[in-house]
């Protein structure tokens, strides 16, 4: 099942996704409006709390608006990675194009990977819009940002979440709907991964659960590198944790996807949603 990805195939998938998404202009506009509305909402929530939240946010520069904006923006990578592989299969099933794709000599693993790239590019665009709006209108201060450590964390985050996303796609191949993994990791990460508040405010039992979520380490490190300008050395514990998650989940996800694909081809359910 080794993917046969070439630059030409990757670009073909990107072009396809760009053209399809560009044909839904209203959806793009509403997405931008929802980003703006989310930024404004959290700006006023931050204003309401003012310095009261500062004691819990000392490790992140003390400003709630910067904390939450980065949390919301970067947790988008988790949604993209967890959902993109599953969506790649279910959208092709819905379009009825999966048969035509499976019929071609391009491997399904290549289709899966190439179909997810657009989601990551679009998520990156959303992150830039979030940060740009925060900087332009609401005094978001990223003057100390360390770009290289942020990019390393971002790459590791995408890899570790993609492994979970592929694992999740295996469930979709077999059960079609009701993927427990996505529900478990996505739900728990949004609540306990430190998107809206630092995990230090959680009861100790819940804090322990958050240590098992890759998002916790991603947000911790990306906040430190963007707000405080932390170097790679300073965020090494988070980097190693994400490497550990990737090493644990990637082989498992590849094995489960191979098994699920074989089963779906055997029972003839690959092509139906």
């Amino acid at each position: 099942m080794k993917p046969d990805i070439s630059l030409r195939k990757l670009l073909a998938f990107l072009k396809r996704d760009l053209l399809i998404n560009a044909s839904y202009r209203a959806a793009f506009l509403f997405d931008l409006i929802s980003i703006l509305s989310s930024v404004v909402t959290f700006f006023f929530i931050a204003k309401l709390f003012g310095g009261k939240a500062a004691e819990h946010l000392a490790d992140y520069g003390g400003d709630y608006f910067s904390f939450v904006l980065i949390g919301i923006a970067f947790s988008g990578y988790m949604s993209a990675a967890m959902g993109s592989f599953t969506e790649a299969i279910s959208e092709e099933q819905a379009y009825g194009t999966l048969e035509a794709i499976v019929l071609s000599p391009t491997k399904i693993s290549t289709v899966l990977i190439c179909s997810s790239i657009w989601k990551f590019i679009f998520t990156s665009f959303r992150v830039i819009v979030y940060l740009f709006l925060g900087w332009l209108f609401f005094d978001l201060n990223l003057s100390r940002a360390n770009l290289s450590s942020s990019l390393i964390i971002l790459a590791l985050t995408i890899i570790s979440f993609s492994a979970l996303g592929i694992l999740s796609a295996s469930f979709t191949l077999i059960f079609k709907r009701g993927d427990p993994l996505n529900w478990l990791f996505y739900g728990a990460s949004r609540l306990l991964g430190g998107v809206y508040f630092p995990i230090a405010v959680l009861p100790i039992g819940l804090q322990k659960i958050s240590f098992f979520l890759p998002l916790t380490y991603c947000l911790e490190a990306v906040r430190k590198s963007l707000i405080l300008g932390s170097s790679v050395k300073e965020i090494l514990p988070q980097i190693l944790s994400l490497v550990f998650f990737s090493a644990l989940f990637f082989p498992l996800s590849i094995f489960s996807f191979k098994s699920a694909l074989k089963k779906a081809q055997k029972n003839g359910s690959l092509l139906y949603s």
């Binding site: 073909a12 399809i20 003839g268």
Partner: protein, 275 residues
């Protein structure tokens, strides 16, 4: 000399398609409130075997649920059989399916299978790349095949094409990769009588006689099988009941050569029921 001519002249591939004892069962889900009940199973294909020579047209006839589409999907590598195997162009269907994929084509019966928001050309460019064709080759072949298939406007969104044009685009996509054997699932089911007639003429005169392709299609229409096919397979309840040239099968079933294919079909299908 094209690949087919090379193969035809050699001993490498005597049969374009050799199917050996293919069986396939599907399991129906258990009723929600009967967890201890066994899964019901449907025997979709029951030890299907036959051979087809290059450059021939085979029509697979049969009632709904006979197993025609399942057989077509197995032979086009979309689903795996439970038992048996097949050799297509000398490639093993199960162990060499990846190499086989660029040499076979499937024309779908439904309007699905294309991205409706993209134009015909954009769809063809995308699928061409999945078949490892270069952009220049896709462009060149699209121009040639669109002329051949009389598709005039490739730049409008797929959703705006008529059913007939969608079917021609499906055939054009299939021909992009120069398959040597083409499977078609009820190719004229959505076409008006004139469109169906033209499509059949194209298959027989251009695809098979001129380009030397082998065609295997399923149909409900006996007249279509009669006008198009060199050989006929009649399938019912997952089994091939009759296979061969129409005249030969008629004699085998005790009919004379002047009998219609409809009489043969009914006799074949009803034989087991009467017994």
């Amino acid at each position: 000399m094209n690949v087919l001519t090379q193969l035809w002249g050699s001993d490498k591939v005597k049969n374009m398609l050799e199917v050996h004892n293919i069986s396939k069962r599907f399991f129906l889900p258990k009723p929600l409130f009967s967890p201890f009940q066994k899964n019901k199973e449907i025997l979709a294909l029951d030890q299907v075997s036959f051979k087809l020579n290059p450059g021939r047209i085979l029509a697979l006839l049969g009632p709904n649920g006979a197993g025609k589409t399942t057989l077509l999907k197995i032979l086009s590598t979309l689903i795996l059989p439970d038992q048996g195997t097949a050799k297509i162009l000398g490639y093993d269907l199960i162990t060499q399916s990846q190499s086989l994929k660029s040499r076979i084509g499937l024309v779908f019966s439904e309007e699905k299978g294309f991205y409706w928001r993209l134009s015909g050309r954009q769809n063809l460019e995308f699928f061409g790349i999945l078949y490892n064709l270069s952009p220049a080759r896709i462009k060149e072949k699209t121009r040639y095949l669109s002329n051949l298939l009389e598709i005039d406007d490739l730049d409008k969104p797929f959703q705006n094409y008529s059913s007939g044009m969608k079917q021609r685009l499906s055939l054009l996509r299939c021909l992009l990769s120069e398959p040597e054997i083409i499977f078609m699932d009820e190719p004229t089911s959505r076409l008006d009588p004139a469109g169906a007639l033209n499509f059949r003429k194209f298959i027989k005169e251009k695809l098979v006689r001129e380009l030397g392709k082998t065609v295997f299609f399923t149909t409900h229409q006996i007249s279509e099988a009669e006008s198009l096919a060199d050989e006929i397979a009649i399938m019912d309840k997952g089994r091939i009941k009759a296979f061969g040239k129409p005249d030969e099968i008629k004699i085998k079933y005790g009919l004379n050569k002047d009998s219609t294919l409809e009489e043969l079909y009914l006799k074949t299908i009803n034989e087991e029921n009467e017994a």
